[in-house]
């Protein structure tokens, strides 16, 4: 409307605006006000006095007194007359360069510090638990792996927590994410996938002396995808596409001692995505680990023990939702023997629903 008030609208734009104004009294009134005000400003233009006749000579006098020669340009940086100033500038530039190097170095160090820095206090303390066993509390944080060409999610070092029959509530946990330089690859069918190294840190409860658990993963997201083939759903690049839900019917038989249940990924059915793994100890305890990402992008992972005498501190769970493309949950049972179950929910619209759950058992 301001353009119209100033009279610079094209004929077509003006006709379009007039059509709207004829149907909208509010805009028409505002248009009238703007036109009146614009005309008033335009009419308030007055002549200005002439500059002093000796302005140029006064300027030249000052130049002669202050600056006998104009500055020359060197390497794109206008240098001042004073050599000391120029030297200072050069020193400043060098200092800035050094600072940049130091900042870059610190960024790298920060990455390392993620694994070694003292823990923060968790925002919410849950039920106290006994001290964690060595096997879990010592869990060393591995160095961040280089991003592989075909990324495989890595989840390690679950922090034990005993939460008996706890309803699923996404806790607000401190989280750190460090993404190293992403790598890109194009798949045969034209997808462009971006792989980046991701480190996440979790702070455990102080009551069980677990200060933090860190695990690294490889985040792969679909940066761009070709048009879906007939019968396949359209991919939303970079978005989570699957869901983790219990599917007893498709759970494999208990091929691993102590492991008899498996949660696996299922076709998209809810807004949560992720993977769930569970193990049952010989004593009958069900240890469940899940890694879920809620719609509001909170990522959480949890361990729970359903029943039994198994000390809670012998259980661990960890998980990761890796960019909404792949989720990993790791459940660990420790004691006389250790069983691990890793459920990897691969969420990919280009695979059939049956292929979406990939189970990796290790112990």
């Amino acid at each position: 409307m301001m353009k119209a008030a100033a009279g610079v609208l094209s004929e077509r734009e003006s006709a379009s605006l007039e059509r709207h104004l004829s149907a909208c009294a509010r805009c028409a009134a505002e248009m009238d006000d703007l036109r009146a005000a614009s005309a008033l400003f335009g009419s308030a233009r007055t002549p200005v006095p002439e500059p002093p006749p000796d302005l140029a000579s006064r300027v030249l006098d000052r130049i002669a007194a202050e600056a006998p020669a104009p500055p020359r340009r060197r390497f794109g940086i206008p240098l001042r007359r004073s050599g000391a100033y120029g030297g200072g500038l050069a020193l400043g530039t060098a200092a800035a360069g050094i600072a940049l190097v130091l900042i870059a170095r610190n960024l790298t160090l920060d990455d390392q510090a993620l694994m070694t820095a003292p823990p923060e206090r968790p925002p919410v303390a849950t039920a106290p638990a006994p001290a964690a066993p060595e096997t879990l509390s010592k869990a060393p944080a591995p160095p961040a792996p280089p991003a592989p060409a075909h990324p495989v999610a890595v989840a390690q070092s679950g922090a034990p927590r005993k939460i008996a029959s706890k309803p699923r509530v996404a806790p607000s946990r401190p989280r750190a994410k460090v993404a190293a330089g992403p790598g890109e690859r194009a798949t045969a069918d034209g997808e462009k996938r971006v792989t980046e190294r991701v480190a996440r840190a979790r702070v455990g409860e102080p009551s069980n002396n677990i200060t933090r658990s860190t695990f690294f993963g490889v985040n792969e997201r679909v940066a761009s995808a070709p048009a879906p083939a007939a019968g396949r759903p359209a991919a939303a690049p970079g978005r989570a596409l699957g869901d983790a839900a219990f599917d007893a019917a498709s759970a494999p038989a208990a091929a691993v001692p102590g492991v008899n249940r498996l949660y696996k990924a299922s076709p998209p059915a809810s807004s949560d995505t992720g993977a769930v793994a569970s193990v049952t100890s010989p004593g009958g305890e069900l240890l469940k680990a899940d890694a879920l990402e809620a719609p509001d992008a909170r990522t959480w992972w949890d361990a729970s023990v359903s029943a039994g005498d198994e000390p809670a501190d012998r259980h661990g769970a960890s998980g990761a939702v890796l960019g909404g493309y792949r989720s990993v949950a790791l459940a660990r049972l420790t004691g006389d023997r250790e069983a691990r179950l890793r459920a990897e929910a691969v969420e990919d619209v280009y695979t059939s629903p049956d292929e979406r759950a990939k189970t990796i058992l290790s112990y």
Binding site: A5, A39, F41, S43, A44, L55, A56, V59, L60
Partner: protein, 207 residues
């Protein structure tokens, strides 16, 4: 000057002359720079005066602008018109000066008798347009300009009083064209509300 009319009227030989003067000035020829000052002093003076509304302030500031331009001549890359570059220095200097004065004085910067309201008085004999505004309208224009921020006021000055195009204002003030339109829109609404407060005729200029 990067004005609407001067831009189109500029001829190639003058541009060539100016380029030569700039080159010589950059090599240290103060006389060439003096010629550049004479070529641009009116337009620079006009912009600064409309912002400062004081001859003394304007005289000093315009000198500062040209001395500053001389010092910075090494950084003039030639990808903008010299006038645009010069006006950018002038606009920044005026905005900075106004800010400093407002901090110090906290009052209107107008010299007695030089406010726009006074300038446009029919008694001042300063131009044919002066008589078209009523006293209320002059007062409303003055008050609304005083109430605007330096950037808004500069935009109004450049557009309505110096008759720059919005593209030129954007180049001089180093903002987007959309920002220029937005500032003009805001200024007009401010003027309208000032008129409403005074009960002045909203129909624009009388006569």
């Amino acid at each position: 000057m990067p004005g609407q009319t001067s831009e189109s009227a500029r001829t190639l030989p003058i541009e060539d002359q100016e380029r030569a003067l700039i080159r010589q000035a950059r090599e240290g020829d103060a006389a060439s720079f003096g010629e550049l000052v004479r070529r641009h002093e009116r337009s620079v003076y006009s912009v600064v005066y409309r912002m400062m509304r004081s001859r003394d302030e304007t005289d000093d500031l315009v000198q500062d602008v040209f001395v500053s331009a001389w010092r910075s001549l090494g950084s003039f890359r030639g990808d903008a018109h010299f006038g645009t570059w010069l006006h950018r220095i002038a606009v920044n200097a005026a905005l900075k000066r106004i800010q400093a004065l407002k901090r110090r004085q906290g009052v209107s910067l107008d010299d007695p008798g030089t406010a726009i309201g006074e300038q446009v008085s029919s008694d001042s004999g300063e131009g044919p347009l002066a008589s078209v505004l009523s006293a209320e309208q002059r007062e409303a224009v003055r008050k609304s300009l005083d109430a605007l921020s330096g950037n808004h006021r500069m935009t109004v000055v450049l557009y309505y009083f110096e008759q720059y195009s919005c593209d030129e204002i954007a180049r001089v003030m180093q903002c987007s064209v959309g920002t220029v339109w937005s500032r003009l829109h805001y200024a007009c609404k401010k003027l309208k509300s000032e008129l409403s407060e005074q009960g002045a005729a909203p129909e624009g200029p009388t006569a």
